[in-house]
Symmetry: C2
Subunit: 350 residues, 2 copies
Amino acid sequence: MKRISSNDIARLAGVSRSTVSRVINGYSNVPEETYNRVMQIVREQHYYPQLSGRQLSGKGSNTLGLFWIGKPNLSQALFSSNMFMIVIDAAAQRNYLTLADIVPNLSEERYANQVRRVFSEGRIDAGIFIGANNAEPLMEELPDNGYIVGIHDYYRENDPQPLRLSVNYDRSSGEQIIDYLYALGHRKIAILSGDLTHQSCLDRHESFLRGMTKHHLPLRNQWMAYGGYTEEPAYLGARQMLSACMDDLPTAICANNDSAAMGVYQACGELGLRIPEDISVFGTDDGPIAATASPPMSTFVIDTRKLFFSLVNRVIDTLEGKENVPRTEFIQGTLLPRASSAPPREHRNP
Amino acid sequence: MKRISSNDIARLAGVSRSTVSRVINGYSNVPEETYNRVMQIVREQHYYPQLSGRQLSGKGSNTLGLFWIGKPNLSQALFSSNMFMIVIDAAAQRNYLTLADIVPNLSEERYANQVRRVFSEGRIDAGIFIGANNAEPLMEELPDNGYIVGIHDYYRENDPQPLRLSVNYDRSSGEQIIDYLYALGHRKIAILSGDLTHQSCLDRHESFLRGMTKHHLPLRNQWMAYGGYTEEPAYLGARQMLSACMDDLPTAICANNDSAAMGVYQACGELGLRIPEDISVFGTDDGPIAATASPPMSTFVIDTRKLFFSLVNRVIDTLEGKENVPRTEFIQGTLLPRASSAPPREHRNP
DNA sequence: CACTATTGCAAACACGTGTTTATTATGCTA
DNA sequence: TAGCATAATAAACACGTGTTTGCAATAGTG
């Protein structure tokens, strides 16, 4: 399937190829009559300059790489759906296309090479990374080699590398949730932490702890557990934790995110604990499952759209040579109590 | 940021550029010693041939376009999440990358051009379309111009165009659902249809009608309504239909898909109809919301992964010149009753 | 030894584009 | 009218690759 080239247009218009190029790229020294004749043929033929040629002569690809680090499993996929759409949308609004790639991890050499290859082949001008671990050597190497990377959830204090940008989550989510639960009367609060090698999980965990400390609430080991960030491990973690302290149950449980909170729902269901009558449950993110959960889930809203638009726009700004682009941003969230949280039993009106 | 070229490799290895090319492309007439020397440098330098060069000299881009036709709104996005992941995954398993693009519609010229451009620029070797209407001129034009397209849900009887492939849904879903409901004792069944310009919506609707006819069940207008394929219009359609026949309610209601069924849930909730005690509800698809809905939703499982793997693989087969590639496939599904369906009141044991 | 077949590799070409340089045609001025 | 500035456009080059052609050196054969 032979594609149309600027030579064909030149022939049809009876001019030289360079004139076609000047018309397309809006040079001034081409008279209106010639411009119109060429332009009409360009439109008629649906001619668009071949990317390979453009790129070879020094232009970029106008493409952003979108790297999803992790298995393409369903629960995460569900959560990530919007992320994909939003990144594609954000890029499109700046006239960039998005090349999406799923990479199981970055520590195995072959997968790291998979990423290097996409950059080296010149397929993309910059890369957006979702789900990268916090200490990934590739996130050093790529910008050191001159590639611009935008990383979701990967904060680094005083980063000297100007080609590494990131976007991060509100670091006060935990405190705000604890404040709210404290105000409801909760004093015995359990915390299900995520995978602490991810920045946001660590931030959220520390924020919960700050909230607890602020209100002089006890940080008991039996009310702390690991829950990962998907439903399954959270379910296991919550069930184990709760069944180990049935004689002294917490009155509320805070999960690292909504999916994990769904795991808590399941564990509570199995142990006969009603939400919120027996125990309050809080998620974080306000992802697609929070509102339709039963009961509707109390959570902390993060505007994913705002988050990725910030990242994509700053990456493209950097790419296009804009100066003083902020390299890190924290996206503020808001507390959103729903029916899964209520005052603890002893505080409730009879 | 200067990228490495085969010239650099040639210089480092002390051979000519053409030798580097022969090494990389596995030509036979290069002695082992030279091969090893060159290969080592290629690996050390993380050299990958520039795509633009390769493409310019006649190779493909090894890239599939993934066109999402429709607004990037959330409810659809949720449903589409897996589709994106699955297509990317399927392509990756054949060593293809995926260029994703969101296109609001194909009837507006500027959006059609957006698609034409991606093809013309040589960014992709073939395109996968999700959400294209059933009579889209662009789906004629592209294959007529030599581009391979793989269309989700776009059946055409005896299609003469060899470059147009498609994958479609089980066309007996409605019959199977009606069979099941009939066996439970239901005789008054309502049907919420989707947007009939989409093949699957039409197929499902017709399949429901065949099922009804087969069992000599009445097809009453008051038990038919339009529900779109997202939650909102389905909610509106269901509420209007149900409140218009409160004196003679159907005992079951079948929706075009799970999201629409969620709209039915909502309408029933508002009208005080309990599911399944007062009315049984059926979705179709077994998407991510079906299992966690409350009550868990009866539905008809479509293996989305199988569906898109079939499409992607056949598109790539065609691309790579394989002969006699099946151009249309129907992916069989299975009935999955859950708690949202039960025998109608009069048939229930006391 | 003289000639040929084979091996190993370098040089040359094509691909499509953007840009720079050179060339022709046109209009103006002295 | 001769000379020159300018406008319009053509020719030339560079970019990185795969492949084809050609050339030298080596090995094999009579």
